[in-house]
């Protein structure tokens, strides 16, 4: 069996964490490709129900950064 690869949904604040993720790209940093980003205008927008929804839908992890 192939090794476990987690599916992670990331809620990133447009003004900081999302910009940081862009900058990681500009700097050509390399990281695992497991993250799927959802851009929000503020990490405060992330309703706890979104996190639950993600886990219910089958995601293995949720990252909120802002």
């Amino acid at each position: 069996m192939a090794e476990f690869e987690p599916k992670i949904v990331a809620f990133l604040c447009n003004w900081c964490a999302y910009a940081g993720a862009d900058l990681a790209g500009v700097s050509r940093m390399q990281y695992p490709s497991n993250l799927r980003t959802v851009r929000v205008m503020c990490s405060g927008r992330v309703d706890p129900s979104f996190v639950v929804k993600a886990l219910k839908e089958g995601c293995d992890g949720v990252l909120v950064a802002g």
């Binding site: 599916k7 949904v9 447009n14 999302y18 910009a19 993720a21 862009d22 990681a24 790209g25 500009v26 050509r28 940093m29 390399q30 990281y31 490709s33 993250l35 799927r36 980003t37 959802v38 851009r39 929000v40 205008m41 503020c42 405060g44 927008r45 992330v46 309703d47 129900s49 979104f50 929804k53 993600a54 839908e57 089958g58 995601c59």
Partner: protein
């Protein structure tokens, strides 16, 4: 791609850049520039103007094919000329200023030897319906044929000999030009459609007239000069005398295989050497050359002569033939005479004259005269009207090569007599150009057209360019070559050739290799871009703002700092680059000598500042103390805890806002500050470590070692200031800064011309930015009637409604060149997207953001009736606005758009796994599509602007702001707390430059009072405020009654005041005064014998950890005035650091010259003031004398701290922050020095920080200028991405209002329902906190609705 490397100006030459480069990372516009200087001298020196620099650059990189393509733009014979060209290009090579010329010709051969011409594509040729006949297949004829064929003409070449090539085949021997090379390059021409008819002699096989009759629309005569000139000496008819042309032709035709006996060649050109060397190879026992001039006059190149001599050919210089000696009609020898050369004549040539009686003879079996040739024109026929010259050459228009016979052109040796291949090539180029024009019916010039003169604006020869010897070209061993025709010059090693090419200095900057044109797949750089020229444009303007900036002081002229000599001595500007992440070492601090991380660095302050001896800049540059501290702190952050920075200074001038705190923190963080000027710097050893010698304040001499020294260089006005001053007719001051005065700090001496930044005087960034806004404001006042008249509003098509439509999503997947397409499999992403629900159209683009793709997207949206658009490309943070505009152009609402970030957050960060990157790209596209299908149109949101202003505070700053606003047509209200206008300036007598402050304040008050658009509320205070940009409501209370004022913008100018103190007997003794109290009492001043000023009373302490900025200048001004009035009065200033920044330093100097005594004290050893029976005694410890002094004083005047007024209330009303010392906090210390973070509110004057009058005035004008950006429009667009409350669901709990940081939600009473939340869209920043916190889910966040976000989540899972 660019092969040209040049020192990077931005990196202070610490690193290189290309000739095609981006000036610096943040450059605006964010594009590349191409550095074009004057054409390199090699290209100018080449008769055919070959792009030498270009192909040499290609050889340097081993790009031989590209090199040949560059050469083939100018001629068809790279391999031939790489061997036989006399390389005039090398004569101008500037490498000779360093060592010797680049071996250009050899590099051409290297390129040619590595390329099979058949591998080069034949360009697309558009045929033209005209025919050209070329007579003669030598270099001139074939070059003309080549260019005419490229131009689309049908070209037939006629050659009388059995094979094509002319003198290249029948003159130049194989040992110089192998026939394989010649054949390949001639055969290559056939690929361009050129027909070559050999064995076809014009005049014999076919006549000129017949050529014309058979349809030749033009004829080019390029038959060369094949008839040798006679010696014109007795005996030359003898058997065994053969002219060189005939001799070589017979050899090359294969008719002559053997030469016996001794051969004598007469002449000094190429053909003489060729004749002798061929004779030797055919078996001649001896071969001699006789030449009537000396070695240096020989036309053949020295290396050619040298090789011939190596082969055993004997050259008799200064020898002329007199008679051919015969024996039975056969040559037996030659009688010669010695010659000597005259002085150079008017043409510069030295003429040989025979020396009487020096005759001698040389035995010989063969004599080969090689003294010149002329054309054989017999083919023209008797009826020809083609004119000839006295030299028997064809006569032509030198410019166009036209003969007098219409349609017949001639060029090459046939018009010049014998010359070189490259000159024949030039004739071929020229003929092709004018024949082409002639055939297209263009008018041809009658006269010679001079070429543009050679410029000399080239890349400077680098100062320390190392000497590198010119490449040596190996030759075949003499014994191996003299019996055959093997090529003498051997192929050079590829590495040697590349090293040789790297010797090129790239004189012209861009070498026009056009590699960047091929590299730019977006076609942003083209041949046309390269051809762009400087243009002069006239712009009609109403005012001009000059901001030419500064020039860092160049310390090279100061011998004590050794900046040029020692590698580890750098300027502060160079050190900035070393610290920069985008700098030469990517932010790693490395010292230049050995690239090791330094452990100790010394900063030396005041290099080129406060120094009238060596640098002539007696002013203080005002910024260096602060930047040196910053550099030392950042260096410590980069290097680590163990790093030891030391700053050597005179006075530490950290007078800017919050600078003193930074200074104190730096001390705590381990930056060492030493009050001393370093006496000398020497290099300790080879490693580059430096020895510094300095004297401490206590007089001790110290030697200390540092790994590096940073020179904190001062500022000078940029060089262009002087030119601009002349152009605009404005005055400069004695330091060549633009002259202004304290009351009008941005006005030059010419009305309508304004200045900002260091051009006006040394200053830091915040002050420069303030002045820039101030200049914009005052320029705007003069232009207010024209406001908006030249604005062109962009028009968008009417928005189409998508109401009730099913999603028809268009997906555009970008390759971003190779940024995405090089990692992710874009075609498979496209295929994947096609099957996603709602997707109606998918395509991929090379660059989705390019102009043509944008237009294409608009077309596709209309054609396919798409109603949602997804672009899978880079980040929405930079590109969303662009695409939103694109879809608006197609009639779609901009919020029907979504981006999938498959570059920054996918291919760039997963470039090591293409498969996973492709999978992620697909998922991101799926998420975007899911979300897009739920996107809705959101109408634009704009709010009307109340075009009036409110100014809080009626001091100089407030009044200036009010006048500046009202003069632009915006009615303004001033709210002043006291009963009179004027503020703190009412106490000031004069500015430091001597201007009368009271007169100025009075005139300002008068202007304000008389201004029709200014209303003044005295004895008034702001007691409440609400609203947002464009729509503020401020409640003002005047003597107990309140009123509400509506305004669109507000300026806060609440001022500051000097603190009271109980130190130094203030308030206890009438002899102790503060600030302006003493100078306003002339009686006291007159009677006093001794006056002491004490500085920093309450400033720079723990309680007030800031510098009050204006006190040093104030006390020095007063001291100077006292000394000028009464030189015998003893005046003492007790200070901690004298902060006479910028040109105030000159006042400080003047005070010392007048005898004012300055004594430094420290905070832990403050002066002590005591009352005595006749006055006061001031005790202070002098650190230089190292003893306690006691000064008898009549009066002591204190410079107490400047303190903020009570700003807390205003701060709370408008939600604008204050710092710890209660001064208002601007949005950004450097870039937005008058803005608040809250839009529509601005700060100026002492309310921001203590500052002198001129700075208050410019800041006030800046605030007015910034306010005008809001008030200038009748409405402003705000983001419509706001929250919406569903009143039915809302229960009025108020959680949303509580969490909203922007006061964009309030609770309002709704009739019959109780409290309900209400949005204020103009204040909403769209964060969505309210939506997330609402327990009732009664709030939705537009564009980030729950279902839209959940769609993304589900697609991701």
């Amino acid at each position: 791609m660019c092969p040209v490397e040049r020192p990077s100006e931005y990196d202070m030459s610490l690193a290189n850049r290309k000739a095609t480069y981006k000036p610096y990372a943040q450059a605006i516009p964010s594009g590349f520039v191409i550095e074009k200087l004057d054409t390199a001298p090699c290209r100018m020196g080449c008769p055919a103007h070959l792009n030498v620099q270009g192909y040499v650059a290609m050889v340097k990189q081993g790009k031989y094919k590209e090199a040949i393509e560059i050469i083939m733009q100018d001629l068809p014979f790279p391999g031939i000329l790489g061997r036989v060209c006399p390389h005039k290009c090398e004569a101008g090579c500037r490498r000779m200023e360093v060592d010797s010329a680049v071996s250009i010709r050899e590099l051409k051969r290297v390129a040619a030897d590595h390329v099979d011409l058949n591998d080069l594509p034949v360009p697309a040729i558009t045929p033209k319906n005209k025919k050209v006949a070329v007579i003669g297949s030598g270099p001139a004829g074939l070059t003309a044929a080549y260019f005419l064929a490229l131009d689309g003409f049908k070209v037939s070449v006629y050659e009388s000999m059995p094979e094509a090539g002319g003198m290249m085949r029948y003159g130049i021997p194989e040992h110089r030009l192998p026939r394989t090379v010649l054949d390949a390059e001639i055969n290559n021409l056939k690929r361009f459609g050129i027909e070559i008819h050999t064995n076809t002699a014009i005049g014999k096989d076919i006549s000129l007239k017949e050529l014309k009759d058979h349809g030749a629309d033009a004829i080019f005569i390029a038959v060369g000069a094949w008839r040798s000139l006679k010696l014109r000496i007795p005996g030359e008819e003898a058997d065994g005398v053969t002219d060189v042309t005939t001799f070589l032709r017979e050899v090359h035709l294969g008719n002559l295989h053997k030469v016996n006996g001794k051969v004598i060649v007469i002449g000094g050109g190429h053909s003489a050497l060729d004749g002798a060397r061929v004779a030797l190879r055919l078996g001649a026992e001896e071969a001699h050359i006789i030449y009537r001039r000396s070695r240096s006059e020989m036309l053949a190149e020295p290396e050619e002569v040298e090789e011939a001599e190596k082969e055993g050919i004997k050259i008799h210089f200064l020898t002329a033939p007199v008679k051919v000696l015969n024996e039975k009609g056969r040559v037996a020898g030659i009688e010669c005479i010695r010659t000597e050369l005259t002085e150079p004549d008017s043409t510069g040539r030295r003429k040989p004259v025979p020396i009487e009686g020096s005759n001698f003879t040389i035995d010989a079996n063969h004599i080969i005269p090689a003294i010149g040739q002329e054309p054989d024109l017999s083919f023209l026929g008797k009826d020809s009207i083609v004119e000839t010259t006295t030299w028997n050459n064809v006569k032509v228009n030198q410019e166009t090569l036209q003969t007098n016979d219409d349609g017949i052109f001639a060029g090459g040796d046939v018009i010049t007599g014998p010359a070189t291949v490259i000159e024949a090539v030039e004739a071929g180029q020229r003929a092709a150009k004018y024949i082409g024009l002639y055939l297209q019916g263009e008018k041809l010039p009658k006269e010679w057209q001079d070429e543009p003169a050679m410029g000399d604006n080239w890349v400077p020869v680098p100062e320390n360019e190392p000497v590198q010897e010119r490449m040596k070209i190996p030759t075949l061993d003499v014994q191996k070559r003299i019996t055959n025709f093997e090529e003498v010059a051997l192929a050079v090693d590829v590495k040697d050739a590349q090293a040789e090419a790297a010797r090129c200095l790239d004189c012209g900057g861009c070498c026009e290799c056009y590699q960047c044109v091929s590299a730019c797949t977006a076609k942003a750089v083209t041949i046309e871009t390269h051809a762009e020229q400087e243009r002069i444009v006239s712009i009609h303007v109403g005012s001009v703002i000059l901001t030419p900036g500064l020039k860092p002081f160049n310390p090279d002229k100061l011998d004590n700092y050794q900046h040029k000599q020692y590698r580890n001595v750098v300027t502060s500007i160079e050190f900035e680059r070393i610290l920069s992440a985008g700098g030469p070492s990517a932010g790693h601090v490395l010292r230049p000598s050995d690239n090791k991380e330094p452990e100790k660095i010394a900063w030396l302050q005041c290099v080129g500042s406060r120094d009238s001896n060596k640098s002539a800049n007696e002013y203080c540059s005002g910024v260096c103390c602060m930047y040196a501290i910053k550099e030392s702190v950042i260096a410590k952050e980069h290097i680590g805890e163990h790093f030891e920075p030391t700053i050597f200074f005179m006075d530490m001038r950290t007078h800017g806002k919050d600078f003193e705190k930074y200074y104190e923190r730096a001390k705590k963080d381990g930056v060492r500050f030493i009050r001393s000027r370093v006496h000398s710097i020497t290099e300790k050893d080879e490693s580059g470590t430096l020895d510094l010698r300095y004297v401490t304040e206590a007089g001790e001499i110290v030697n200390e070692q540092f790994d590096m020294v940073v020179l904190s260089v001062g500022m000078e006005p940029s060089d262009s200031v002087k030119d601009l001053a002349e152009t605009f007719g404005i005055e400069l001051n004695e330091y060549k800064f633009v002259k202004t005065n304290e009351m009008t700090p941005v006005n030059t001496s010419r009305p309508g011309v304004f200045v900002a930044g260091v051009a006006q005087g040394c200053k830091d960034i915040p002050q420069s930015v303030m002045e820039a806004s101030a200049a914009a404001c005052i320029a705007g006042i003069g232009l207010s009637s024209a406001r908006g008249t030249q604005v062109q509003a962009k028009k968008f098509p009417a928005e189409t409604s998508i109401e009730g439509q099913d999603a028809r999503i268009g997906v555009f997947v970008c390759n971003c060149g190779v940024n995405i397409g090089g990692v992710a499999d874009v075609p498979s992403v496209v295929e994947y997207a096609k099957n996603l629900p709602g997707v109606a159209y998918v395509e991929q683009n090379l660059f989705s953001c390019s102009q043509d793709t944008q237009e294409k997207i608009v077309g596709v949206i209309k054609e396919k009736k798409l109603n949602r658009i997804v672009v899978a490309a880079c980040t929405p943070r930079t590109h969303e606005p662009l695409f939103q505009e694109t879809i608006r152009n197609a009639g779609l609402n901009p919020y029907l758009f979504e981006m999938a970030n498959i570059r920054n957050q996918c291919t760039w960060v997963h470039s090591n796994n293409k498969e996973l990157a492709t999978q992620k790209a697909k998922d991101l596209v799926k998420m975007a599509v899911s979300r897009a299908s739920l996107l809705e149109s959101i109408p634009a949101l704009s709010v009307d602007v109340d075009r009036t202003a409110l100014v809080v505070g009626g001091g100089v700053a407030g009044m200036t702001a009010a006048i500046s606003l009202a003069d632009q047509g915006f009615p303004t209200t001033i709210v002043e707390k006291t009963s009179a206008l004027g503020g703190a300036a009412k106490d000031v007598v004069k500015t430091w430059k001597g201007e009368d402050v009271q007169a100025f304040v009075s005139s300002l008050v008068e202007q304000v009072e008389k201004h029709p658009d200014i209303s003044i509320l005295l004895n008034s205070e702001v007691t409440a405020a609400s609203g947002f940009v464009g729509n503020f409501e401020t409640t003002v209370t005047t003597n107990g009654s309140t009123k509400t004022i509506k305004h669109g913008a507000g300026v806060i100018a609440t001022g500051a005041h000097a603190t009271e103190t109980d130190e130094y007997l203030y308030g206890k003794s009438p002899r102790v005064t503060k600030w302006h109290e003493l100078e306003k009492d002339p009686e006291k001043l007159k009677s006093a014998e001794s006056i002491v000023f004490i500085q920093c009373v309450g400033s720079r302490t723990e309680e007030r950890p800031y510098c009050s900025r204006i006190c040093c200048t104030s006390s020095i001004s007063q001291a100077v005035a006292i000394k000028q009035e009464n030189p015998d009065t003893g005046v003492y200033i007790l200070y901690r650091d004298i902060r006479a920044y910028a040109e105030r330093e000159v006042l400080y100097k003047k005070a010392r010259e007048l005898g004012v005594i300055f004594i430094r004290y420290s905070l832990d050893n403050k002066p002590v003031v005591e009352e005595t029976k006749d006055g006061l005694s001031v005790k202070v410890f002098d650190p230089i004398l190292q003893q306690l002094l006691e000064i008898e004083a009549d009066y002591v005047n204190l410079a107490t701290a400047i303190e903020a007024n009570h700003n807390e209330a205003i701060s709370a009303f408008y939600k604008i922050p204050v710092n710890e010392e209660k001064f208002f906090m601007e949005a950004h210390a450097k870039l937005r020095p008058v803005d608040f973070a809250t839009d529509g509110l601005y700060v100026c004057g002492l309310a921001h920080y203590p500052k002198p009058l001129d700075e208050s005035i410019s800041q006030a004008m800046a605030a007015a200028g910034r306010a005008a950006t809001v008030l200038g429009k009748s409405s402003i667009q705000v983001s419509p991405l706001v929250s919406k409350v569903n009143e039915e669901k809302c229960i009025g709990c108020g959680l949303c209002a509580e969490v909203c940081a922007f006061s964009a939600i309030t609770l309002e009473e709704v009739e019959g329902k109780g409290k309900r939340a209400k949005n204020i869209p103009a204040s909403c920043k769209g964060c969505g906190l309210c939506a997330a916190s609402c327990p009732q889910k009664a709030i939705m966040m537009l564009h980030f609705k729950d279902e839209q976000i959940i769609a993304s989540i589900c697609a991701a899972a």
